[in-house]
């Protein structure tokens, strides 16, 4: 069994799964469960927008340039300004402001502080030449809650003590001192809860593999993965594809950072900051991945618009967003052979026998690309039908409509009568259920439609059966070599 444990740890290590020293908790994707829970407490408690959630996650992981600590510097100055403006007598008053979920939006922050904090047309003035927007102040308060409550409140008393000191002397010096303390605090937090080294190693390997190129092909992803498999790293194909999603999204930032280590004028520095901030901000705004995954994970209770199995299939096909519309071949590879590989990894984790590993490694059970295309088409058709039903439930008054629209709605009524799904019996409850799911349904139907079209485009260029057969021998060979030891066990 000890050998098995080592095998599992080797697999997990190669997939970027680290274990937290001491507790042995698994850490996937560069963060541990504590970090995810700390962040969720702040985001859910304040009901933050997606943009603000992404901003906060970015600040926590350190994806801020040129200086990771800039948001903490801003926060310290914002707290000093609030201490002066609101006459906060003690750290406790500042904690109350930081923990107040009613101060989570620009509008709420404006309403509360526009009379008490020095401000101009653009927002609060936090010091000489030190300013932010009202939305920026709302974000900084979310960051304040994070630094106060991080590690499930382990440092709460210490940080409250620092705020006490700031409240006693809320001047520039006090703010600068607090900024340094907060920077050390968050840096220690990252060391404990964000094991980025395996991710960094993999990105360094990808950068080396691409040798300065910023564009890559589906076959580049496959070739890179095979190289890692041969080198004994054995990362999941999906994991590698995920890294390429990030690489593609951030490729335009690459190379631009080197100049920053050289001394630059303050103006140039500010310019860089704006560009990078804007670029990272765009990345966040244009980052639909969490939305799709979250849509499926948080699907509202109610009528069975999607069954559990349908949601799982959609999650699997859309997990590499935006590749489902831009790189259908990688999407198929991940859904077919990535699935086989995660089956092998799960099998090994649970202590499965060698015979089964060998059997799985042949990819005999892999879902063919044609079958996946057909499934994607069926799911797209189902979602489109559900959208028409949503319209029929919403539009009761149809007299003024053109005949074509009326016909579509009538067809939807017929579909609705044929549906044999739980929750579809009571029309009033069904209408409420569809209303609750409408936004999610629209987006999911649109994305699944785009997947369907991308797959059709791929099939025209490259017959799917031939592509599948060729890929199967590549993946089977890679699995057979990489898992030979376990298969023979």
């Amino acid at each position: 069994m000890a050998g098995l444990g080592i095998t599992i740890q080797r697999i997990e290590k190669s997939q970027g799964v680290a274990r937290r020293p001491g507790t042995g908790r698994r850490m996937t994707g560069g963060y541990d469960e504590r970090c995810a829970a700390d962040l969720a407490a702040v985001c859910d408690g304040r009901d933050l927008s997606r943009e603000d959630r992404t901003w906060l996650a970015r600040v926590v992981t350190g994806a801020v340039r040129p200086n990771r600590d800039k948001p903490l510097w801003d926060l310290a100055h914002a707290l000093a300004a609030l201490a002066r403006g609101t006459e906060a007598a003690s750290g406790r008053d500042l904690v109350t402001l930081a923990l107040d979920p009613g101060l989570a939006t620009a509008a709420a922050v404006t309403a509360r502080f526009s009379g008490t904090v020095v401000a101009d047309a653009r927002g609060p003035v936090l010091g000489e030449a030190w300013r932010t927007s009202w939305a920026g102040l709302a974000r900084l308060l979310a960051l304040a809650e994070f630094v106060l409550t991080a590690e499930d409140l382990a440092q709460f008393a210490a940080v409250t003590g620092w705020l006490d000191e700031l409240a006693a002397a809320p001047d520039a010096e006090g703010a600068a001192f607090l900024a340094k303390r907060l920077a050390r605090h968050l840096s220690a937090y990252r060391n404990a809860h964000l094991p980025l080294a395996p991710l960094e190693r993999r990105f360094r390997a990808i950068l080396g593999f691409l040798a300065g190129r910023k564009a890559f092909t589906d076959d580049d992803i496959l070739t890179f993965w095979r190289g890692e498999m041969e080198a004994g790293e054995r990362p999941g194909f999906r994991t590698v594809a995920e890294h390429f999603v990030t690489f593609e999204a951030a490729a335009h930032l690459i190379g631009g950072l080197e100049g920053l280590s050289a001394p630059v004028s303050l103006d140039a520095h500010a310019g860089w900051e704006e560009r990078l901030d804007a670029a990272l901000g765009d990345l966040a705004a244009a980052e639909p991945a969490e939305a799709l995954a979250a849509l499926l994970a948080d699907w509202p209770e109610g009528p069975k618009i999607l069954t559990g199995a349908e949601r799982e299939e959609l999650t699997d096909l859309l997990r590499l967003d935006p590749f489902h519309r831009t790189r259908p071949l990688t999407t198929l590879r991940a859904a077919s052979f990535g699935q086989v590989q995660s089956g092998i990894a799960n099998r090994l984790r649970r202590g499965g026998g060698g015979g089964e590993v060998a059997e799985r490694a042949t990819c005999a059970e892999a879902r063919s690309y044609a079958a996946l295309q057909e499934r994607a088409g069926a799911l797209a058709a189902h979602l489109a039908r559900m959208l028409r039903i949503a319209a029929a439930l919403r539009i009761a008054e149809r007299d003024g409509l053109d005949p074509e629209t009326r016909a579509v709605l009538e067809a939807a009524e017929a579909d609705l009568r044929r549906m044999r799904r739980s929750g579809f019996e009571d029309r009033a409850a069904l209408a409420r259920g569809f209303a609750a799911a409408e936004t999610a349904l629209l987006r999911l139907a649109a994305e699944t439609g785009r997947l369907e079209r991308a797959l059709a485009g791929l099939a025209r260029q490259r017959p799917l059966d031939a592509a599948f057969a060729a890929d199967r021998s590549l993946f089977a060979a890679a699995f057979a070599a990489a898992y030979a030891g376990e298969a023979a066990a």
Binding site: G29, A41, G45, T61, L99, A297
Partner: protein, 167 residues
């Protein structure tokens, strides 16, 4: 390149982190903080009170918040004692129960910052009372048996396992 790889790793972690959706701890920090700052006798959030009684993890988080803003606190009586306790230290403060009718709680300490309230915890039970103004560095509180909370505070303080927060 190494700086590029680092930034990509940070962005990647931020991406997957925003996708992870663990359920947040309940009650929220804000709700626990509001409870920690409540006026004695003021209406309370019953969901919070229930959580503090039934969920040891919520109680632990609450006491962390309370301890951080307390003038002084002690989770146990410092000195072991046989039988009921009539004297204990909480940080720089000394609490003494003077038996009589009614018993009196005497709180002495440094003049600099006297607490305004006391909250005592024993098991899953809590009592919070206003302390009143100090006179010559001493606060006197009658533990009147006719006032349920004051009476209960007196009984709890006599138990060495009682946690005391001076707020």
């Amino acid at each position: 390149m190494s700086e590029d790889a680092r930034l990509l790793a940070e962005i990647h972690a931020a991406r997957v982190l925003t996708r992870a959706r663990p359920s947040a701890a309940r009650p929220s920090h804000a709700a626990l903080w509001a409870h920690a700052n409540r006026e004695p006798g003021a209406p309370v959030d019953l969901a919070v009170v229930r959580a503090l009684r039934s969920d040891p993890e919520a109680a632990r988080r609450y006491r962390t918040l309370l301890g951080a803003q307390a003038v002084a606190h002690a989770l146990l009586a410092a000195a072991a004692s046989d039988g009921a306790l009539t004297r204990r230290r909480v940080g720089p403060f000394e609490l003494e129960i003077l038996e009589g009718t009614p018993p009196l709680l005497i709180l002495r300490g440094p003049d600099a910052r006297m607490p305004r309230r006391i909250e005592a915890w024993l098991g899953d039970e809590a009592v919070r009372l206003d302390l009143g103004e100090p006179v010559d560095g001493t606060i006197l509180l009658a533990l009147d048996p006719a006032v349920a909370e004051a009476d209960r505070l007196g009984q709890m303080l006599r138990d060495p396992a009682c946690a005391v927060f001076l707020l």
